[in-house]
C-alpha cells in the first residue's frame, strides 16, 4: 500500500512538468503516522512526588539558581503574569506532580492535560523545554514552596 501512495505522489510532478496542471492526479493522501513521528523525548512522566517538611534548604538554593537562569525571564515570583503566570501561590494552585510534568514533559502535558491547554490559550507561548532534569525540577518545587512561605 505504501508503495502505491509513493507512486501516486510522484506521478503528478512528472506529468505536470510536461503536460501542465490540468493533468494532475488527485492530491495524494499523506501518511499521518510518518508526519507525526517524533524522535525527541522530553523526559518521562513523573507520577508521584513526595514532599517533606521542613524544606530542604539545599534544594531551595539549587532551585533558586535554576530559577535565575532558566525561569525568571518568563515567571515573576509575585502574582504578576509576564510571559507565563507569576509563581506566587503556585504550590497551592497546582499539585507538585503537575508542575514537575509541566517543566519536564511539556509535550505530554499540552497534548493531554486540559489545564495545561488552557494555560497555552492564555499565554500563547508554549511552556518551553528548558532542559531541566526531574531532580532539578524537584529543587524548583522546593524553591516555589519557599516562595509561598513554607518553612
Amino acid at each position: 500500500m505504501k508503495k502505491i501512495i509513493l507512486m501516486l505522489s510522484v506521478l503528478p510532478i512528472i506529468i505536470w512538468s510536461c503536460g501542465g496542471a490540468e493533468k494532475r492526479a488527485e492530491t495524494p493522501k499523506t501518511d499521518e503516522s510518518v508526519l507525526l513521528k517524533q524522535d525527541e523525548v522530553h523526559g518521562q512522566e513523573v507520577k508521584e512526588l513526595a514532599l517533606s517538611t521542613p524544606l530542604d534548604q539545599t534544594m531551595v538554593k539549587a532551585g533558586q539558581e535554576i530559577y535565575d537562569v532558566k525561569c525568571a525571564s518568563c515567571h515573576r515570583l509575585t502574582e504578576e503574569k509576564l510571559v507565563g503566570p507569576g509563581w506566587k501561590n503556585v504550590t497551592t494552585r497546582r499539585k507538585p506532580v503537575w508542575i514537575v510534568n509541566m517543566i519536564t514533559n511539556v509535550d505530554m502535558m499540552l497534548a493531554d492535560d486540559a489545564e495545561a491547554q488552557k494555560m497555552l490559550e492564555e499565554c500563547l507561548v508554549r511552556m518551553p523545554n528548558q532542559n531541566i532534569t526531574s531532580d532539578e525540577a524537584r529543587s524548583v518545587i522546593e524553591y516555589m514552596r519557599h516562595n509561598d512561605g513554607e518553612k
Binding site: 507512486m7 510522484v10 510532478i13 510518518v34 500563547l124 518551553p128
Partner: protein
Amino acid sequence: MKNKIFTSLTLLGTSMFLLNSCKPAGQGSGGGSTLAGDAAQKVYVAPGTHDEFYDFVSGGFNGQMSVVGLPSGRVLRIIPVFTQHAESGWGYSEETKPMLNTSHGFVPWDDAHHTTLSVTNGEHDGRWAFINGNNTPRIARISLKSFRTEEIIELPNSGGNHSSPFVTFNSEYAVAGTRFSVPPDNFGDVPINTFKQNFKGYISFVSIDKTTGNLALKFQLTTPAISYDLARGGKGPSKDWIFFSSYNTEQANTLLEVNASQKDKDFILAVNWKKAEEYLAKGKGKKVPAKYAHNVYSDVTHSATSTIMTDVMTLDPKDCPDMLYFIPCPKSPHGCDVDPTGQYIIGSGKLAAVIPVFSFAKLQKAIADKKFDGSFEGIPVMDYNAVLHGEVQKPGLGPLHTEFDGKGNAYTSMFVSSEIVKWNIEKLTVLDRVPTYYSVGHLSIPGGPTTKPWGKYVIAYNKITKDRYLPTGPELTQSAQLYDITGEKMKLLLDFPTIGEPHYAEAIPASMIKDKTIKLYKIEENKHPYVAKGEKETKVTRNGKDVHVYMTSSRSHFAPDNIEGVKLGDDVYFHVTNLEQDWDVPHGFAVRGANNAEILVMPGETQTLKWKADRIGITPFYCTDFCSALHQEMQGYIRVSAPNSNVPLTWHTGKTAMKEADDKSQK
C-alpha cells in the same frame, strides 16, 4: 495488490514517455535508457522521513560548504566557512570575526573546492570535515557534531591552495600543495622570469590532533617550482605515502594555457611522508620565518581567537633522499586517485587519450631497482613503463577525476565528452558510460575515496547547467546529478541544483553522524565573557565610548528592551545570550542602521553585534527569527542622546510599561 503496483509503474512509464516527447530533440533529454524507470521511487524521501546520506558539498566561489541529503538532493544547510554569512552573522559578529583573520588582515571571502572527511584506517569515522580555501591559502576544519567551522589555518609560502585538504590514512595530516609556485614569503621581491631559480612548489603538511582535531602546520616540503593540482593519501600497502598530480613541469610563468601544455608528460609526485617525519626527527628540517594566522573557535566561550604564527619548519628534498619520486603522467594530469586497496594510483591527464593506472607494488620495485628516467631538480623520475599497471584505452575525452565502488570498478568523470565512464581496474576495460548534463567536473561516490566505499550512487558535479532548470536570466543555478550504480549499468535518477559552484564533495551514511549532532549549548557551560545567565545578570555598562549591553532573549522578549543614556558616537556592543534550552529555538537580533549584519543566536549561546550610535534619537531593534506567537512583539528601543547630555545610563524590561498599563486600566 501486485497488479496495482504494476499499473502505477506502467502509468509512470507512460508519463516518462510524455515527458520525453515534449522536450526538444538534442537538448539533453535525460530519457531513453539512461534514466532509471523507477527513478522517482528511488529518490523519494517521504515527508517526515530522512535521507540516507549526508553529502558535504564544496561551495566553490561562495566559500562555504553545503549539506545536502541524498538521495533527495535537498539542501539541508549551508555551513559558513571562509565567507561572511550575513544571515547568521558569521564573520560579522564580534565572536566570529577572528575566524576570517589572516596575515593579510580580515579576508571576507574565499574559493572553497574540496571537502575531505576524516578517516581512521582509511574508513570514514564521521568526526570532521575539512575544506580548502583556494585564493588566500587556508584549510578549515568543521565539526560534524555542531556542523560549524571550528578552526581555520592559513598556509604561508603558498599561492592557490588547490591540492588540499586531502588526508592521510589515519587523518594524521591534511595536505596543501601550492597551485602557484612562489618565492619564499620573506624573499619575494624577485623578477617573475626568474621562476626556475627563485620559485618553489611548497607542499604543506597540516597535522590533525587525534582527539581534538586541532590543526598545526607541521612542515613544508620545498619542491621544484611546478603547479600542484590534486592529491590523495595512500591506503593499505601505500598508507605511508601521498600522491600529488602536477602540471606546468615546463615551469612557464606566462601564458600557461599554451606554455604549460608543451610536454608529453607531467608528473605525479609520490611523497613518503613517514620518511619526511624521520628526517624531521633527525633534525634535517630548517625553521624559516613565515607569517600565518591560526584561528580557533570555542564552543565554551562561544568566541574565536586568532593567533599570528611567525615561523614554519621546512624540509629541502636535497637533504632528504628517498622521500620524493616523480611518476611521469600523460598530459597535465588533474585528478590523482588511489583505489580502495591502496594498490593503484590513477592519473587523469586532462588532455590525454588514455587513463594511466600506476601500481604501487611496481613503484616500490622500480625504486629498489633504480629504474629511473633521469631526474628533475634532483628528484628521481621513475621509468613510466616500470611503474605502469596499464592504460585504459579510449575512455573518453578530458578525464578529470576517479572514484571507486569497492567492487573493483573505477568511475572517471570526462569533462570534454561530458560523461561518466565505469571501468575495471584490474582489466582496464571500459564497462559502461553514461552522459552528464553538462560537462562534469568532480564526481563522488559515498565513501569513494576511502578503503570502504559505501557505493550505491555516483554524483556528477557539473560545470555547465544550460537548460536543465527553468531559466533565471544570465546567471543559473549550478547542477548536480545522481546516478544509481547498484546494477551493471549506471542509471540517472535525479538532477538537483546546488549552492555556489560545487567542486568536490563527500557523502557519508547519515547513521554515522545524525545521532551525535548537538542540539543546543548548555547555558550552565557558557563561559562567554559577556554572558548573562538569566535576566538577573542583564545590565548595561560604559567604558569610555564603548557601551556593553548584557542582553538575554527568550520567548518572546529581550532583557533589557529599553536602553537610555547612550551618546552619539558610542560603540554599542549587544551581547545577546539566548536563554532557551530547547532544540530549534534560535533568536535573532537586528538593530536599525547596523553596518554589519544581524546575528542568529542558538539556545544557550552568546553572540555580539557591534552597532555605532550614528544619530541622535530612538533606534528600534527586534528579533529576526520567528520564535513564538508573540515573536512580532519581540522588540525594543535604544535612545541615543547628544554627547554632552546628562541622560543617565538606564535599562529595563517590562516593569515601567506594565505597571503604567495596569494603573491606567485600573483607573
